[in-house]
Amino acid sequence: MRLLRAIGRGTIAIFAVIGRISVFAGTSLYHCVRPPFFPRLILRQMIEIGFYSLPVVGLTAIFTGMVLALQSFSGFGFAGEATIANVVVWGITRELGPVLAGLMVAGRIGAAMAAEIGTMRVTEQIDALTTLSTNPFKYLVAPRLIAAVAMLPLLVLVADVIGVLGGFIVSVYDFGFNPTTYLKSTWASLDAAGFISGLVKAAVFGFLIALMGTYHGYHSKGGAQGVGQATTNAVVSSSILLLLFNFIITALFFAT
């Protein structure tokens, strides 16, 4: 009986959290499409999310592309420009580009959003917004969601290019492949479905990262400890959701 009660309590708690996040997401989306908009804030968030994440996403992508080429050649035992170019292009554009860029941005931006909004919550700045007739969803949440959904695909596009370049550098300068042939193989390996699925994933990941960052920040309480907890929760939940949705989108695009 006690076990059943514990299971029931746990199940209700899970559904309550899902419900709260769904209501938060619905309210946020409503304010994303309903004026007034805050273009200055959206632009600021775009720069924060897109421009300032470029170094970390670029570095992640180039090393991933290089390792992918190395593993394909020495680890998996593939040989030849066509095979390695194919593995690098498919690996980067379909999976590693969006997932690794997403995880990096979740760590950098999701944490920052939760910390900033969480601090605003515990110092009554969010209450102050309300008393100044400004809806916190419109002012704080919507600009971050719009900017993240817009910038993640661009970041992933950059990650794709840099990741493929990493594979090219290793293949040409380490394995001694012919650069022209390798580039031709790279171009031939590009497929629309794989490339588009990567960008769709990026947009969804952007939404999830911003949603979790703002949700946990918005509901943080209890001072510095609460803000720290919100930051951790934002990164962990967005990373897990990101991997879950990566599977779902991959299944939708490629499962036969």
Binding site: E116, T123, A128, T131, S133, T134
Partner: protein
């Protein structure tokens, strides 16, 4: 100063609010007349903050009514509520300045966002409000983090009065300030309320501040108003709880539960 002949600006009737099993507000009744300055006093955890948050719309009560200018705001749609909130200005306990914005933009925030004023005109208005509360306009472009506690309170007050609200709320306006700065802030509050001809509701446990800024005092204890009257009457109210509170005595009807 009496306001018995002026219309009610804020009317709170039988207001209840609970958090889980904790029943914080247990039927609060309160009326503020136009132009009146009321201070709600009471110890920590008696429901002062919850009361003010319900009136402002930061919380929804479980039951009861809150009328602003005769309009019941409980259960209003967010858009309607926003219209009513435009009548408000609030000074928060910790000032609650937006640390991502410079001081002038904090002060001008309501003018830009709520009144739709362009940034240049709003800056000019903000500088006027800053001068009104004794802030040097040289600090207009500084970040709030660079200001002292007293200056932050002044900037918060400038933000509260910049939109020329009809109703001003003050949440523990002197907490964290030295007595002299507390007195300065109180004087600024009195001056601002008078100049705007506003109605003011303050919550405080600082009796010196309450005497300076309020026409009337209401004491809240265990979620109910236990005494309400003119500030001049508080020293001979005949109410044991009020007597104990204003004299800071540990003996009396108010018993603090101290964990042993």
């Amino acid at each position: 100063m009496t306001h018995s002949d002026t219309p009610a600006k804020i009317e709170v009737r039988d207001l209840h609010k609970s958090f889980g099993s904790k029943h914080v507000l247990r039927g609060v009744d309160l009326t503020l007349r136009s132009g009146e300055s009321l201070a709600v006093i009471g110890g920590s955890g008696t429901g002062k903050s919850v009361l003010i948050k319900n009136i402002i719309g930061l919380m929804e009560p479980d039951s009861g009514s809150i009328r602003i200018d005769g309009e019941d705001v409980v259960g209003m749609s967010p858009d309607e509520r926003e219209r009513v909130t435009r009548k408000f200005g609030m000074l928060f306990q910790g000032a609650a300045l937006f640390d991502s914005l410079p001081v002038w933009e904090n002060v001008a925030f309501g003018l830009i966002q709520s009144k739709g004023m362009n940034r240049h005109a709003a800056r000019e208005e903000a500088l006027v409000a800053m001068v009104q509360v004794g802030l040097d306009t040289d600090i207009a472009d500084r970040s709030p983090a660079e200001l002292s506690g007293g200056m932050q309170k002044r900037a918060g007050l400038a933000r509260a009065i910049a939109t020329k609200p009809e109703i001003l709320f003050f949440d523990e306006p002197t907490t964290g300030l030295d007595p002299i700065m507390g007195s300065v802030i109180d004087d600024l509050i009195v001056k601002s309320v008078r100049e705007l001809d506003a109605t003011a509701l303050s919550i405080t446990h600082d009796m010196a501040s309450a005497r300076r800024i309020a026409d009337n005092i209401a004491m809240i204890y265990e979620g109910r108003i236990v005494w309400h009257g003119p500030v001049a009457d508080i020293d001979d109210s005949g109410n044991e709880m009020l007597d104990q509170f204003i004299h800071g005595r540990s003996d009396g009807p108010i018993q603090l539960r101290v964990a042993s």
